[in-house]
Subunit: 100 residues, 2 copies
Amino acid sequence: MDYENFSKQLKAISDPNRLKIVDLLSCGTLCACDLLEHFEFTQPTLSHHMKILQEAGIVSAKRVGKWQHYTLETSFITDFNKNVSTLFENGPECACHCKK
Amino acid sequence: MDYENFSKQLKAISDPNRLKIVDLLSCGTLCACDLLEHFEFTQPTLSHHMKILQEAGIVSAKRVGKWQHYTLETSFITDFNKNVSTLFENGPECACHCKK
DNA sequence: ATTAAACATAGACGCTTATCTATATGAAGT
DNA sequence: ACTTCATATAGATAAGCGTCTATGTTTAAT
């Protein structure tokens, strides 16, 4: 498995605030101002977090008028779940190369 | 859900080298010297990574003679999988508090 | 055209992290 | 007792991260 790539996904969501953002988006699309209401930090900080989530392929953005609409990437979820399975299970891709 | 706690688990495995360590341990118990053979870094660096994995409850250690035997904590795997489900699914614990 | 609202970018600051070298500890064999 | 092997600890360093303030950009409304 590609540890570097999986590592990037994990690092992107391993911040407690970004975890909450993903959790909020798991219910559906939200704009930045709606997201911001759930946090104590400033608007530029949210912008920074959203950029990280986008660059990791976790979230996609679409401008609608003045608003940025953020949506969870379903491809990320399936990819992530696949990586988790590969990591914990003793499969043929395991780094130990043992034949269980 | 407890974002702080889940964040600690994620940060502990979000290093590519520690991902590989977990992947290696998913096949069974290994000692430090066996693990070290799979990496380029030094022994103190491995010791550092193992400490982080232990403190996160991901790995347990047991001394057998001169060797430290490391084992993946099954409780971590179930806990982790549970957290992942809660995060991505639109459940009653979701931060948005919407009733889907 | 101005203004206001929503969001992004730039730069700075303090804290954390991954790695190293050097050294300590602890168990086992001679 | 001394040495050797396996592992841990200490301290240093460089890079990365989360946050802030200040400012820029873009869209829409007046």
